[in-house]
Amino acid sequence: MSNYIIISQAQYDAWQGKKVGVNKFNAIKTTAGSFAVDALAKNEFPSAFIGSELVKDLTVADFPILKK
């Protein structure tokens, strides 16, 4: 279980795939339909967050199964 920040569709559209230095922003849509990004992203992409996002503990089960 890890901390994730739940972002809006607008934040996703604005930041998904954006690169700052050696880091690339990557949120994934959860099975519940919200966009989640690891909480550590706030350190690397502070401008991506407005400060009132929901922080949730999620598990692998909360994400779609992306299998080869």
């Binding site: 690169k19 050696v22 880091n23 922003f25 990557n26 994934i28 690891d38 992203a41 080869k68």
Partner: protein
């Protein structure tokens, strides 16, 4: 009497005349520029690692490798040879143990295009692998994938490393422990060498099909479909070294393993 031999001995240790391997020294400089100064013991460990690879004529077969030293994304991103730097996708955790992915949104993109590999690619990784289940540590799959994936399966420690997925799979035997060193090298179109902590095995597979495409890069912490570019099978692992290259023999993989274990032991993260 102060002899020439004494002077040389002193020159390599006490008098400060000792010179690190030039490639190691270049890496130390780039680490410093990225914000981390290696300690003397860390420099010695890296120097000796490179020396071992060069002595065994393995170094030139390595396209790029990532030592993941320094504890930050900026230092971990640095390719040792300066050929490629990592892009960290999804903000994985960085500390002195290496890079830890979360199994859901994070991976490292080596920037190494699939087309960089010749007919006999190899990949290697050292780190901590989550217990239980199939884990795809790194690599690519699907049509056009020349360098395929390195993985462990089930609750055991099998290296399941497939280079010719479309033509026939091949998995190697049990390797213990589950964590640590895993590598595979395509020796010919139909033979693959595997090297783990305890396992060293060469297996025959069916012929490869198709030609490698160059559209997409090699990830770790997940694997990439070379046909579509999609990244799948995220895993929560801690990586302490990642390497890729061409033309490594079974003996070369054994050398890389030995040198890697010595390096990680010296760094206190074996």
């Amino acid at each position: 009497m102060f002899s020439l031999s004494n002077a040389l001995a002193l020159g390599s240790t006490t008098l400060g005349g000792f010179a690190y391997d030039s490639d190691a020294a270049s890496f130390f400089s780039r680490e410093a520029a990225a914000g981390y100064t290696l300690s003397a013991s860390e420099k010695t460990a890296v120097n000796n690692f490179i020396s071992a690879l060069k002595t065994a004529s393995v170094y030139s077969k390595i396209y790029e490798m990532f030592l993941l030293i320094g504890g930050t994304s900026a230092t971990h991103a640095l390719g040792f040879k300066g050929v490629k730097d990592i892009t960290f996708v999804g903000s994985p955790t960085h500390n002195s143990s290496g890079v830890t992915t979360n199994g859901t949104t994070q991976y490292g993109d080596t920037g190494i295009l699939n087309s960089a590999f010749g007919a006999t690619p190899f990949i290697a990784a050292y780190g901590s692998i989550p217990a239980g289940g199939l884990v795809y540590l790194m690599g690519s799959y699907g049509a056009g994938a020349q360098i395929n994936y390195l993985s462990t399966s089930g609750t055991n420690t099998v290296i399941y490393n497939i280079f010719n997925e479309d033509a026939g799979n091949a998995s190697a035997g049990t390797d213990t422990p589950r964590n640590g060193f895993k590598a595979g090298s395509k020796l010919t179109a139909t033979t693959i060498a595997y090297q783990g902590n305890s396992l060293a095995e060469t297996k025959t597979v069916l012929s490869a099909t198709g030609s490698p495409s160059g559209a997409h890069t090699l990830p770790f912490g997940a694997v990439r479909n070379q046909a579509t570019g999609a990244v799948t099978d995220f895993n929560a692992s801690t990586f302490k070294l990642v390497m890729a290259g061409n033309g490594a023999t079974a003996a070369d993989l054994a050398t890389i393993k030995s040198a890697t274990v010595t390096l990680q032991t010296a760094l206190g993260r074996a």
